[in-house]
């Protein structure tokens, strides 16, 4: 990948890369591509993807009782800016 592509990808992930960081990632892709080429030797025709190690039955109905929950104060305890019970961010419409 080109440096600009890597930087754009990073911005899509909501972080910026310095030139050095982007170049470092570009260099890593050269060895990563060689590793990923090892995939080509594996015939996966008609093989289903493995998403989880094994299925665990998770279907259940819980009792209609109050369980674990966070109070509003607890939910907001780690928010950098709070006003009247709301999370404060910059205005979207100015």
């Amino acid at each position: 990948m080109e440096i600009d592509e890597i930087k754009k990808l990073a911005l899509d992930l909501k972080f910026a890369l310095s030139d050095d960081e982007a170049r470092d990632i570009q260099n890593d892709f050269s060895i990563l591509d060689k590793k990923l080429a090892l995939f080509d030797k594996i015939d996966t025709t008609n093989v289903e993807e493995m998403i989880y190690p094994f299925d665990v039955e998770t279907s259940f109905l819980r009792e209609d009782t109050v369980g674990h929950y966070l109070s509003q104060d607890e939910a907001l305890a780690n928010v950098a800016k709070v006003k009247q019970g709301h999370v404060v961010v910059p205005k979207v419409v100015k």
């Binding site: 990948m1 890597i6 990808l9 990073a10 911005l11 899509d12 992930l13 909501k14 972080f15 910026a16 890369l17 960081e21 470092d24 990632i25 890593d28 060895i31 990563l32 060689k34 590793k35 990923l36 090892l38 995939f39 030797k41 594996i42 996966t44 093989v47 289903e48 993807e49 493995m50 998403i51 989880y52 190690p53 094994f54 665990v56 039955e57 998770t58 259940f60 819980r62 674990h68 966070l70 607890e74 939910a75 305890a77 780690n78 928010v79 950098a80 800016k81 999370v87 961010v89 910059p90 979207v92």
Partner: protein, 468 residues
Amino acid sequence: MKIQDYLNTDYAQKCREAYNKAKAIQDKTNATITFIDPQKRLNDKLEGRLKGVAIALKDNVSTRDIKTTAASRILDNYIPQYDAHIVDLLNKEGAVIIGKSNMDELAMGGTNLTSYFGLCHNPYDLSRISGGSSGGSAVLVAANVVPCAIGSDTGDSVRKPASYCGVVGVKPSYGRISRYGIIPYASSLDHVGYFTTNVKDAALMLEVLSGRDDRDMTSSYNPVENYSELLNADIQDKKILIFDNVLAAINNSEIVDLFNSLVTALTDKGAIIEHVSFNDDLLRAMLPAYYIIANAEATANHSNLDGILFGHREEGESTDDIMINTRTKGFGPWIKKRFVVGSYALFEENQERLFRKAQKIRRLIVEEVLSKLKDADILLAPAAPGAAPLIAGQTTDELSDESLIADNHMVIANFGGLPSMTVPMGYIDNLPIGVNLTANPFKEQVMFDVALAIEEYTGLGGAVKEVL
């Protein structure tokens, strides 16, 4: 130090000693991120199977009102408002938490070199790495600070540092221990694990930590066995598979000799030994498949780390700017790299070729291993091709079989959710070397039994290395 050392003694004194010792070795090891004065907890009336036992938690385990950073700058001010399920269980059983241990940032590494709080030093040689990502927990057990410490294991993040630090490291079956309240890395591979100095303690800890938790939908309903009571070192007729691909890929003949001596001892104890080989091409694709799956899952899991609802917010003129500034300053370069790779694998044009292909390779590897293991009890191999590497680093050929297979084979147990553990098998040049045992799903008991037989042979149960 063993759990038994705490029971029926002045545990308050021992907990204070553990806390002070963790602090005393900090300059040398950097094993702890947050120290927790045990006095408040010691004022409680403690009861349970871990009554008064000092314990350390990896810093990705949520602890109510206690900072939990996952060794990342982005979370260096994060105070959870709830306890992880395993913290509830440890509290219920009377454990005393004395610290949150160092780790690779967001558990995404195998060296402990990527922690925002600095690297962690190996007690056996301070110029060497602890291994990671659960490095601090391994060090605190190895350095005789606590008899048990919690870690997490997505690739081999408990079992590799256990090998490097000469302690027991356990990663049970997928779903055996609830992950509620553990800061995630890759959800289909993440397991809670732990370190002890001996197999009996390891069996007891699984009894304490296991069980269904409705807050983790992947946690298992399988009954929890009395592993420690049932522990039996008689391995007569137990079938042990020797992982020949790993042995063939190790260049260090001393490790192979150490392992072969162990196999001879197990034969003498009545075990049935069978050598197995798996498809080499499949095994060479194992690490890249892991890298793709783990990073793709991590990219999604960590999209909530943006400084809006929690974490170290960096200001900006828009919400987007806040997120970008927060994440740019909040993540180390190693994490950014992994997120880029994970996202790249999820591009529409790459999904089939990379992400889905990796998931298919995962299935082929698991099916091949289970096809051999279903008629056996244990798959056995050296945990790593060498002792703990020097911090200064050493050149490795990343495309060699030693790197792709011998150094990373333990990821198989994460792919398949298989119980797997590392126990010390001896020393080379005064550095510990571990052996890895992997069993069929939810067959932890036989894994502990064979591990105990190994421990009886090596005589290394309870082995520690004082740093001071």
